[in-house]
């Protein structure tokens, strides 16, 4: 009982620390202080791994998902309340959450099914352009616009993936790389989509609530980005629950089997083409929806934001975090997006730094920062606990 209580306190301390850390990182302007914070975290990380406390912590988190989830939610709300009138930091936090959702989508293809998709940013952009066209030309409800963003990404994905389902391995890589390289050309030449200059996107408006207006709560003027922040948190929550449920279901098992051994999967009667298509569609849907949402938040969309380099950044997030691991994606997305913004010194070098980082990770720590755990089914846990 005491052990149980202590471990829960440990989780609480960890979450409070994470919330304080991220707030401090965003709040501090001085680059030296940011650098010191980053180095401090790296040292803490190493110490935690050496002493085994991070292992114990993650074990507790996995046993108490609901408790951890509730605490994290409270922490997120607290951080948002702290930055209630700070446009820039809210925008950054929301961007991190959007990229986390996008990478969770990519992770279903990449981490679970082993399906290479080097066009993450292009599918993300396809959703964004759908939002641009639909919000400026139609009076479609914006919730439907977001869904359409996802559907367009899925349809483009079908056109790409169906021809190569007969093939294996590297062929999906060729197709997605080609699409990723050509997406910019396709958009730039098309004047309907605004050409190289880009296109405006109107802000979200759900059920009469205008997302682009500051509002007041109890006399405090609140930044309109809070709207986007809350909606992004909802999307994130839904996608985490979806991805976790998928992973634990028989579908997730099928996908993992396909990644690990296609021949064995076929022997067990798993229809590879069907599940690859499904995984590709699920991932692209998430990329498209969140891309549409991102476009409405920025209010503007241009071909330059969806290059091959940006797709590689998404892949880097997954690899740095640990293939298949959602906590890893959250950590890596925060690093990859916040650091270049806070440290202007490295902004120019970010592609180089992350590329080298991924090379080192692949060479020396292929499981990433937080490796994906084997799925444990509830029944098995109970047995293991009683036997100890």
């Amino acid at each position: 009982m005491n052990e149980f209580f202590l471990s829960r306190v440990g989780v609480l301390v960890a979450i409070v620390f994470a919330a304080l850390y991220i707030s401090a990182l965003l709040y501090i302007e001085s680059e030296t202080m940011v650098g010191a914070l980053v180095i401090g975290l790296a040292i803490l990380w190493l110490v935690g791994n050496r002493t085994g406390s991070s292992g114990r912590l993650s074990a507790t988190i996995r046993k108490n998902t609901r408790y951890t989830g509730t605490l994290s939610l409270i922490a997120v709300i607290t951080v948002a309340a702290f930055f209630y009138n700070d446009h820039f930091n809210l925008l950054m936090l929301t961007t991190v959450m959007i990229f986390v959702v996008a990478c969770i989508g990519l992770n279903i293809q990449f981490g679970y099914t082993g399906l290479l998709n080097f066009a993450g940013a292009a599918f993300f952009g396809a959703g964004g352009y759908t939002a641009a066209v639909l919000t400026s030309n139609t009076a479609m409800p914006h919730l439907v616009v977001l869904l359409c963003g996802g559907i367009v990404a899925v349809l483009i994905g079908f056109i790409l993936i169906l021809p190569v389902l007969r093939t294996r391995g590297h062929y999906a890589a060729v197709v997605t790389i080609a699409f990723s390289l050509l997406f910019r050309t396709l958009v730039e030449v098309n004047q309907v989509l605004g050409g190289a200059q880009g296109a405006p996107v109107s802000g979200l408006n759900l059920f009469g609530w205008d997302f682009n207006k500051n509002f007041e709560i109890g006399g405090f003027e609140v930044s309109f980005y809070i709207n986007y922040f809350i909606f992004a948190s909802l999307l994130l929550l839904i996608s985490i629950i979806f991805s976790r449920t998928l992973e634990r279901s028989w579908i997730g098992l099928n996908l993992d089997t396909i990644r690990l051994d296609e021949v064995a999967a076929m022997c067990f009667g798993i229809d590879i083409a069907r599940w690859k298509t499904t995984a590709f569609a699920m991932g692209n849907f998430m990329l498209g929806v969140v891309g549409a949402f991102y476009a409405t938040m920025l209010g503007f969309i241009a071909p330059n934001n969806f290059t091959f380099g940006d797709s590689l950044i998404m892949v880097s997030i997954i690899l740095l975090g640990g293939i298949g691991s959602i906590p890893g994606i959250i950590l890596a997305a925060a690093i990859v997006i916040i650091l270049p913004e806070k440290l202007q010194a490295i902004e120019e070098y970010r592609f180089l730094i992350f590329a080298v980082g991924v090379i080192l990770i692949l060479l020396f720590r292929p499981n990433g920062l937080i490796r994906r755990r084997m799925r444990i089914f509830p029944g098995v846990i109970v047995k293991a606990d009683t036997s100890v």
Binding site: L160, P163, T167, V174, A178, L186, Y349, F351, A355, P366
Partner: protein
Amino acid sequence: MCESMRAFGGITMRVIMDFALFTQFIINGLMQGMVYALVAVGFTLFFGVLDIIKFSHGDVLTVGAFAGLTIYLIVASIGIASPWVILVLILVFSISVTALLGAVVAKFLVIPLKQARAPALNILLITLMLGTALREAVRLFFPDGSSSKAFPALLPGGAFELGMLSLRFDSILLFATGVAVIIAMHTLITRTKLGLAIQAVAQDEETSKLMGINFEAIVLMTFMLGSAVAAIAGIINGLYYNEINFTMGLLLGAVGFSAAIIGGLGNLYGAILGGFLFAGLQTFAVVVLPIPIAYKDVFAFGVIIILIAWRPTGLIAETSSERV
């Protein structure tokens, strides 16, 4: 009668004009095809010996072209004026740089992962990221690297005039160089001891080791060879267009990769065929199809993807004896 004659004359005139333009497109397509073929040969060599995709190949080409430009700038500042001397220096330097780079990549990235039995995916990813790192390094560390750089025109100017048709000397020379490189590669692989060793490693790693072949040395040699060819392709590209930039390798890499696949990965002739096929599709899109020129790559990649779906192992079917 007279009217119709004049009209007829007008049409012939336009046909002849178009013919000159048309040959220009064909020559351009052939040059482009040669560059693609040289890049594809590298992909096919690496796949042959190690069954891996080395995606940094296109960016190795960029490094080769920029190494050539660097040595040109140094030599020009010293005051050597003879274009032939400069050309030889450029070739020697940039081939050495890329060959070394290829060997380093194989030694420190590819072979360790291969020996650790990492998934093939990881090797593709690590070389993809290495390509990004190389590309960014060129952009960041070459003076004003983010804008296009003029590549010197070192070959003699002038052209053969054959009636309406004019053939630039430099195009002929560059094309002949490409052909010579391909023939040399072919001779090296089929006629020399090194080539036999490469073929043996490609066919069966274990057996080749039993036959006393130094596996690692052969793999390193193959990577040096492929990368050297990439440097030559980069310089041919630079001399032909008189312009290089840090992203040139990205698209060339993707094209070379798909050309190698469509020809049948591991098949030398297939890679060459694939390269010219890709350039042919691009030329077709520009000359015949009523679409914006920017879409020529979209069309070519689209056709290639359909071809891959139709013939997943490539147009020339792979047999184990023809891996290299």
